[in-house]
């Protein structure tokens, strides 16, 4: 249900005073569609199915994402309804340019390329760390990163006055690399996440805190 008309007191779109649920599509459903696509593509017994991907594909980048997550063909509707049929020209050009840039010659070269990297949480490396970094030249001193981190995350962005101006700085020791500050920052590329050197790999399956792991936790 996309909304309720507060005058008609009915779900939208309103049909003579009443509404109903319907088929929901467009960019908003892309995350759901990608997950389901990936789930079928990565599961051994269903991975043999050729997949026509659908769900919010609006540009060449979405198209490439659906292909690398397992699709062999792509279905589009809302983007065409929004911008007209000629949007396919941009999709074809963009996909073609990207494939050239990456050295992919055919759709078969692209299909499923990201599937092996779609894993369950317990296969992620717990030793990996990434840290936020603020480009002080690009920063507009709005404070969104600070307040987001201070109120709802890890108190890892300090707010000080420097030469009479507000100044925000990442406290590396407190930063868990969650990305929230980069997401809320209104300036492109002002806050970047910097991956730190990886010493080794330890997943939850191997972690001593995991009661099911074979490695015993240290006493105390």
């Amino acid at each position: 249900m996309v909304g309720v008309d507060l005058d008609a007191m009915a779900p939208m779109p309103v049909v003579d005073g009443r509404g109903t649920h319907g088929g929901y599509c467009g960019p908003a459903v892309k995350p759901i569609a990608l997950r389901m696509l990936g789930e079928i593509a990565r599961t051994p017994d269903t991975s043999v199915l050729p997949i026509s991907g659908i769900g919010g594909i609006s540009n060449w980048r979405d198209a490439a994402e659906f292909l690398v997550m397992g699709a062999t063909s792509l279905q589009v509707c809302t983007a065409a309804m929004h911008y007209g049929f000629r949007i396919v020209e941009d999709m074809i050009d963009g996909l073609s340019n990207w494939m050239d840039e990456k050295g992919f010659e055919t759709i078969a070269d692209v299909t499923g390329r990201a599937v092996p990297n779609f894993v369950n949480w317990n296969q992620l490396n717990l030793k990996f760390k990434t840290l936020a970094s603020i480009d002080q030249e690009a920063c507009i001193k709005c404070g969104l990163c600070h307040i987001a981190c201070e109120d709802t995350s890890h108190q890892a962005i300090s707010k000080t006055l420097l030469n009479g101006e507000r100044h925000y700085e990442v406290i590396d020791e407190e930063c868990v690399g969650c990305n929230l500050c980069a997401h809320v920052c209104p300036v492109d590329d002002c806050i970047t996440m910097v991956p730190q050197p990886v010493e080794d790999v330890q997943t939850w399956n191997e972690h001593p805190n995991n009661p099911m792991s074979k490695i015993p936790a240290k006493a105390g």
Partner: protein
Amino acid sequence: MADLSTNIAGIRSPNPFWLASAPPTDKEYNVRRALEAGWGGVVWKTLGEDPPVVNVSSRYGATRYNGQRMAGLNNIELITDRPLAVNLAEIKAVKKDYPDRAIIVSIMVPCVEESWKRILPLVEETGADGIELNFGCPHGMSERNMGSAVGQVPGYVEMVTRWCKQYTRMPVIVKLTPNITNILNPARAALRGGGG
């Protein structure tokens, strides 16, 4: 330059971009404009049994978010509301003029073997490249025990897929509904129905 042509289950198209089964693929006029614009294929808007369904007036609701129009689109239109014969004749004419494009026909008829047995040869006769089973429609048709009402029951997905493999030579795309807890259940049912 990269070769964008694709082949999915034997359905070939010059690029992977197909218009999905929806209002833009309901009739010949729109589909021809789409193919002229360069779409690799279309999935013709879902055909059903006559008499055709009746659609309501006012059909789309949209999610706007911070200035972005149509971040989400909600559609309460049902399947095609035009007679079966009209759609079939148009599909045949389009396929004849665009032999290199993928023309797939979406179908939704009751979960009765006779209904599928009856419609499949009619679709096959158009020269279409494949069919798509509409097991996704969540409104109106699901109340009539079709669409997502089928897609939510793996046993039905398997049964109808098997009928389609039995009664047509065309490749069968099973459109899965996302309105389910685990997508692997209907996916496995489709695989079994297809003989896998």
